[in-house]
């Protein structure tokens, strides 16, 4: 009896917490369809804020910057990170403490320290050489830096999960190094590479603080655009972009769920 009441209480708390977690997101979605300008009252359903997005060049260019930055940085991080992940695995019997510290550094560094370090460094380099003026290049460099550790760790753990005799089998069958990469490494790594890329991509799209400090005047990404729109005064259009971004995230999550389900089933 007592346990039952305890459990009911817990269940109530669970639903309350879920409400707390989803309330702000629901409000944003709801007000993106609001007919009025006011954030305080909902006057009717309308798509006017979505229509307005399509004509807003600043938003479209921010979207373009976000996507370009995410694709380029994720591809670079994938190459560099996969190499480290593989190296860490092959030489895991050696003392690689320094490498592990190096790899965890971008993860544990507070993002504001990360962003400002990059900014001051780029300013200094720019002052000395004229290179690396703030813009998409500096942002790409910064994004690759925080993506590489995640790719490396994903690839490393994929290798650790493999049967070590597989490597020897490939060698014993006289596969050339190229064949080993083409017919053994890449196919076995494929899931790790895909999830490494997707994770890097989402991390990049989602990042605000580091992008904010490394961006130039022409390279605002979507989060930076939203940030400055909020600072200038809340506009209902923000609800509409935010809703679209949430929908994109939900779609990506659903896709990865379906993919993992299918892999588990096969």
């Amino acid at each position: 009896m007592k346990r039952g009441r305890f459990h009911k209480g817990l269940r109530g708390f669970w639903w309350l917490t879920l409400g707390f977690l989803y309330l702000p997101l629901i409000v944003v979605m709801l007000f993106s369809f609001n007919a009025s300008n006011s954030a305080a009252s909902f006057t009717g359903v309308s798509l006017r804020w979505y229509r307005r997005l399509l004509g807003n060049d600043a938003i479209l260019s921010a979207l373009g910057n976000s996507l370009l930055l995410a694709v380029v940085s994720s591809l670079l991080a994938l190459m560099i990170g996969t190499l480290i992940g593989y190296g860490m695995y092959r030489h895991r019997h050696r003392k690689l403490g320094w490498l592990i510290v190096l790899i965890y550094l971008p993860i544990v560094l507070p993002d504001i320290v990360f962003g400002i370090s990059e900014m001051t460094f780029f300013v200094k380099i720019n002052e000395l050489t004229g290179l690396l003026s703030p813009g998409l290049t500096t942002m790409t460099i910064a994004h690759v830096t925080f993506q590489v550790p995640f790719v490396a760790l994903i690839v490393y753990s994929r290798f650790v999960g493999l049967d070590p005799t597989l490597f020897e089998a490939a060698k014993d069958l006289y596969a050339t190094p190229r064949q080993r990469v083409q017919f053994f490494m890449l196919p076995t790594l494929k899931p790790a590479l895909i999830s490494g890329f997707l994770l890097s991509f989402t991390l990049s799209l989602d990042d605000f603080v580091i992008s904010f400090f490394t961006a130039g005047p022409e390279s605002a990404t979507l989060p930076i655009y939203i940030w400055s729109a909020i600072r200038k005064g809340v506009t209902p259009e923000i609800n509409a972009i935010a809703t679209l971004m949430m929908a994109a995230v939900a779609l990506a999550a659903l896709m990865s769920l379906v993919l993992t389900r299918r892999r588990a089933a096969s």
């Binding site: 879920l18 409000v27 305080a40 971008p106 507070p110 400002i116 370090s117 001051t120 939203i226 999550a253």
Partner: protein
């Protein structure tokens, strides 16, 4: 003899080849992180020991002025502004971490006791909101706490705020934002701890006629401690340097260390002062990680926190 010599050279050649292989695979990434993160951080730290120039840029000679400024020393004598910001960061970090634990603990327990089929979906439900951009989530709270919203009217009716005022900007809104933001970071490691819970200890406690509270304290709580500590590190370190939430929900009076640091790099502010604040944040980070490792080892887990 000759055979041994060839074997030795072959072996050393193999060692060289292995080392070259390690270097080839690891060097690009290691160099990237060294050039684009370690060097910049070192440069930022050196900035803290320079003098503030006319445009806020660092200049020679070296000095410790930025650190005395961080403690409140200015042109017009001593003012407590910066120290109050530091104190507020510390207080907000402690308060929000505590609140996050209070919410996350029962939630993680509830998930771990639910039907096996539902657990992954319940975890997903907790994590999904945090996939939305932080700026957007905070904006959602701005919408909810603005003047005229049901929450603000309720607070007004209860006499908590003046008429026609919103619930933000305020320190309360910052705490709320921090708790909201970091809840999943605590639920996940706690859930992992609850998942591994050895229930025979609880049964033993019950057999020994321990009260439910005593059984919890002696048989359950110690087992969840590693998860709890991992969660505390994951919450407290980023909360201490938080920038977005205090900036949007706190206003001028809710500023935290992250805002103090960031503001020094905007316009013609004071880079050395900002860099000194960044050093403080780094020190806090490393103390947190070190304490976590030490306590983790003493608890016998010795497990690495995998983020």
């Amino acid at each position: 003899m000759a055979y041994h010599a060839t074997l030795a050279t072959a072996r050393s050649r193999a060692v060289v080849a292995e080392s070259r292989h390690l270097l080839l695979t690891v060097a690009p990434g290691a160099l990237w992180i060294i050039v684009f993160l370690v060097l910049p951080s070192l440069y930022l730290m050196s900035v803290a020991f320079m003098t503030n120039g006319p445009y806020g840029l660092p200049e020679m000679p070296l000095s410790l002025t930025s650190f005395t400024q961080l403690a409140g020393q200015g042109f017009l004598g001593w003012s407590p502004g910066n120290l109050m910001t530091l104190g507020r960061s510390l207080w907000q970090t402690v308060l929000s971490t505590l609140l996050v634990v209070l919410v996350a603990y029962p939630i993680a327990y509830y998930i771990s006791q639910s039907d096996q089929r539902w657990r992954p979906i319940m975890l997903l439900a907790v994590v999904v909101p945090s996939w939305t951009n932080q700026v957007i989530r905070t904006f959602g709270w701005m919408n909810l706490l603005a003047p005229g919203t049901p929450l603000a009217e309720l607070a007004e009716a209860m006499g908590m705020i003046a008429p026609n005022m919103g619930l933000y900007p305020s320190n309360f809104a910052v705490t709320l934002g921090l708790v909201y933001n970091f809840l999943p970071f605590m639920v996940l490691p706690l859930y992992a701890a609850f998942e591994k819970l050895n229930l025979s200890l609880v049964e033993a406690a019950q057999d020994l006629y321990a009260s439910p509270l005593k059984a919890f304290w002696h048989a359950v709580f110690p087992q969840t401690l590693p998860g709890l500590l991992a969660g505390v590190v994951l919450v407290a370190i980023p909360a201490f340097g938080m920038y977005v939430i205090p900036e949007l929900l706190g206003g001028g009076k809710g500023m935290m260390l992250g805002n103090l640091v960031a503001n020094q790099f905007a316009g013609s502010a004071n880079w050395p002062l900002g860099a000194a604040g960044a050093i403080l944040m780094l020190i806090a980070t490393f103390i947190g990680l070190y304490a976590m490792r030490r306590i983790g080892k003493r608890l016998g887990g010795g497990e690495e926190v995998v983020i």
